[in-house]
Symmetry: C2
Subunit: 141 residues, 2 copies
DNA sequence: ACTAATCCCGACGAAATCACTCGGATATCG
DNA sequence: CGATATCCGAGTGATTTCGTCGGGATTAGT
């Protein structure tokens, strides 16, 4: 996706090209891109000189959206939910109080992911522009 | 650990007891408790009427410490590090810019975990006392 | 001293997930 | 036509997770 962000605006980029640039197997990328297409993040053009491109500008695509498309809903644990229906599935839930913690962790991960967009990670267009407002802590410890 | 927090101050608690209370296999708990002991979080008393107890008050044990003891250093990805030595191991690191994101996510998880202590999750001693200062978002959406 | 309760230790195993691989069908451009 | 692409579905090998199993060492009560 970072590669697609770099190529944004210059027509479709082929998987073979991205595979070379990122040193990843093409066949593997094919698998990943299916989820991205289903999520509406990329559009494909078939045939020669075809390939994939982002459907929206990199600045408007938070990383959380990319990750959710690739890996499903973000959840550190099955129990990281505030859905009351959860009690029916998890037979431990009557005694278990740890639930709250997982929800917090989940939200923290979500916020961190959504605090950066594809543009922040694609150094060609704009230099990295971190958003220190949302995450209070600076990157250097 | 939540069970141990509940029993805090009343002498050692046996694994068999905790296994019954939490509906988990005793043999499995034995494995887990090894890491906790090595991390200095629990102390063991051998022999009849022995068991385990927390070495510190539940209020002083952040969940991050428990999780780190059980699962090693918190890292959503191998690449979630600001250690410059990482470049030597990850041959992609020259081109890869996603590193920053993983560090952010890691820190967000750490902060979320460390924002609650064992006491917050053991309802017997004190009611849950969330710390809305560190995590801006309230628990109820 | 004996016994029962308890921790201690190391090895093993089933299931799920991750990071791919393989083979072929279909569409498009020149 | 033929080269370059995406599309699609099934299969694989390594690793991790969540356990099981069996036996040994240590201590409290009697």
């Amino acid at each position: 996706m970072v590669q697609l962000a770099r190529h944004f605006g210059t027509g479709p980029a082929s998987l073979a090209g991205i595979a070379a640039e990122e040193d990843l197997p093409r066949a593997y990328l094919e698998q990943l891109v299916v989820s991205l297409r289903d999520a509406g993040l990329v559009a494909s053009t078939r045939g020669a000189h075809g390939g994939y491109e982002l459907t929206r500008a990199p600045e408007t695509i938070p990383m959380g959206e990319v990750l959710r498309a690739l890996e499903g809903p973000i959840a550190p644990m099955m129990c990281a939910t505030d859905d009351p229906e959860h009690g029916l599935l998890c037979d431990r839930s009557a005694r278990c109080t740890v639930n709250v913690l997982w929800v917090r962790v989940r939200d923290a991960i979500s916020d961190a992911l959504d605090s950066m967009t594809l543009a922040d990670l694609a150094p060609t267009t704009t230099p990295i522009q971190p958003d220190p407002v949302i995450q209070g802590a600076p990157i250097q410890p």
